[in-house]
Amino acid sequence: MPLNFANDLETNVPTVQIDGLSHWFGMGNTRKQVLYSVSMKIDPGEVVLLTGPSGCGKTTLLTLIGALRRVQKGELSVFGLQLRNSRRKTRQIIRRNIGMIFQGHNLLRCLTAEQNVQMGADLLKNLSYRKRRKLSRNWLVEVGLEDQMEKLPHDLSGGQKQRVAIARALSASPRLLLADEPTSALDSVTGREIVSLLKRLAIEQKCSVLMVTHDPRILDVADRLLKMEDGMILPVVE
């Protein structure tokens, strides 16, 4: 399969297509299966929420989709690119087109809010420094942080940090957003706000979203709800 460049990935394929994906941790006696033949699909522009008890494998699934782990068994393709036995370059292209929002926001401590967002925008090719800078500022305005641009993460509240992380993820014009419990560190009002913001921006960007959450109050933003248990995705109940 010829490798596509980041900008001309095919758009009419499912964003994520998973068939019989299994995953194990550890070696030998301590080897333990955490995913059991998972199959699912996310279409372009879809907002999917993933819930399930602690330890059922949600984060593992997310890191596999994000091309952060090696696929051990089963089929997993993102943007139409097969991840099993993929080359480093393929994984890098996929990562570039995925925006990730982590539970611990993971901002770079030495960079201001604006610079953090620009680390995302810097991944865009063919844009001048000025344009990338402007783009980052716009994203910070979008998430409501126009007054905090020069602050270091240290001086921001939890909610503000999470907003910066969202702006950073979106500034690279991703085609898929992966969010792992983005609201867990926030109070319910802020959490609700952040999730609504995420959804609005994702829709504007025609970006698919896969979000892991335990928070029952935000389930209504989803187009689709997936439940996981013991490494398996439960059949959908309407």
Partner: protein, 385 residues
């Protein structure tokens, strides 16, 4: 496309100013150590030829048994007269060269001083003012004292400038200072004096009158030095060696370089500085990478290439090198000035050493950076979820 980016390396480095300061101090220290050790080494080699460089000569005759300025052997003075027969030779000066005991006129203690004896009528030094001073040596028992000699020889220049008559003993015989010259102490000699051959032979009666230690040969302007050297070497008996001026200088430097452990000791000192610097830079960069491992992993998860991140660490290394080098260079200059004024050693910042030390510091930083980069491979982007 890859135009301006956020100066990530710089921001990572300056995030902890104290650690950066320690790093800079460490590199700076290593740099100063290298500057000083290499400076002393080259300075000592240069200092060994302070007098050699002042002679007015195109070719120099020495005895093949002479090893260095501190062990000069004599050869027959006749060889110079024979050399005069060559059509390109326009002048010669026989010079006696030996160490004599000088009595400090103030403390009356004695110390070895390098004494040069020559015919006051013939040229000895390149310095154009010297010929006039040399006239005063025509009276027996007069010497010209080197005012750059170390303090231990007594306050001779001061007394002389005050107009006092300075008399003391050399090799147990009374001499009077008839003037001052500026030669400078060398590695082998803490001080110098110049006198006439007549006085020299009186001070050192054991020296055979027909024997000299060096013969200065001046050639006509159009002469081919190499050619004259070859023809003189062929025609003169093998109890003399013919050297060019440069060979004469190198002959002395080489002695100190090869027959003593000076070169080794100071090179070892510089190497120590290099190793200390490597350890410090490595420590700093390694802990910097370790501290920011989660952030590097985040960047990888975002789609940054490992190569880009290696570049960040490499740039941190370059910044450290430059930041450490500048104060090292300035301190080096200051310390050289201090050494010059207190030891009278000709230690100076030459471009070669300037580049060498910069290159060593850069190499040190880049080597440490490339080892610290290995830590980056441990950054697992899957860990940050």
């Amino acid at each position: 496309m890859q135009d301006r980016k956020i100066p990530l390396a710089w921001l990572l480095l300056t995030r902890q100013p104290l650690r950066l300061l320690v790093a800079i101090a460490g590199i700076c220290f290593a740099g100063i150590l290298m500057f000083m050790q290499l400076g002393f080494r080259d300075g000592l080699f240069d200092a060994s030829v302070t007098v050699h460089k002042l002679f007015d000569a195109d070719l120099v005759l020495v005895s093949p048994r002479s090893m260095s300025s501190i062990s000069m052997s004599g050869f027959p003075r006749r060889r110079l007269i024979q050399a005069m027969a060559h059509k390109d030779v326009i002048g010669t000066t026989p010079v006696n060269w030996n160490f004599l005991l000088w009595r400090n006129p103030q403390t009356l203690s004695t110390r070895a001083i390098l004494a040069l004896g020559f015919e006051p009528g013939s040229p000895l030094l390149i310095d154009p003012n010297f010929a006039e001073k040399a006239q005063s040596l025509k009276n027996s028992g007069r010497v010209l004292f080197d005012d750059l000699s170390r303090q231990e020889f007594g306050p001779v220049p001061e007394w002389f400038s005050e107009g006092r008559i300075v008399e003391t003993e050399v090799a147990g015989k009374r001499v009077r200072v008839a003037g001052l010259v500026s030669l400078g102490p060398s590695f082998g000699a803490d001080g110098n004096l110049i006198t006439s051959r007549e006085t020299f032979l009186k001070l050192l009666p054991s020296n055979p009158p027909g024997s000299i230690e060096i013969g200065l040969v001046r050639l006509s302007a159009e002469a081919d030095h190499e050619k004259v050297l070859r023809s003189l070497a062929a025609s003169l008996p093998n109890d003399v060696k013919v050297l060019t001026r440069q060979e004469f200088i190198d002959f002395e430097k080489n002695y100190w370089r090869t027959s003593t452990s000076i070169g080794f000791i100071f090179t070892l000192g510089a190497a120590m500085g290099f190793v200390v610097g490597c350890v410090i830079v490595y420590q700093i960069l390694y802990s910097d990478v370790s501290d920011h491992l989660a952030e590097y992993a985040t960047l990888m998860a975002m789609g940054y290439r490992l190569r880009t991140l290696f570049g960040v660490v490499a740039r941190e290394g370059i910044f450290l090198a430059v930041l450490g080098y500048v104060p090292a260079y300035l301190s080096g200059q200051a310390l050289y000035a201090l050494v010059r004024s207190s030891t009278k050693l000709p230690v100076a910042m030459d471009p070669q050493r300037t580049f060498l030390v910069f290159f060593l510091i850069l190499f040190m930083c880049m080597a440490s950076a490339s080892v610290a980069m290995r830590r980056l491979v441990d950054a697992d982007p899957a860990d940050i979820f």
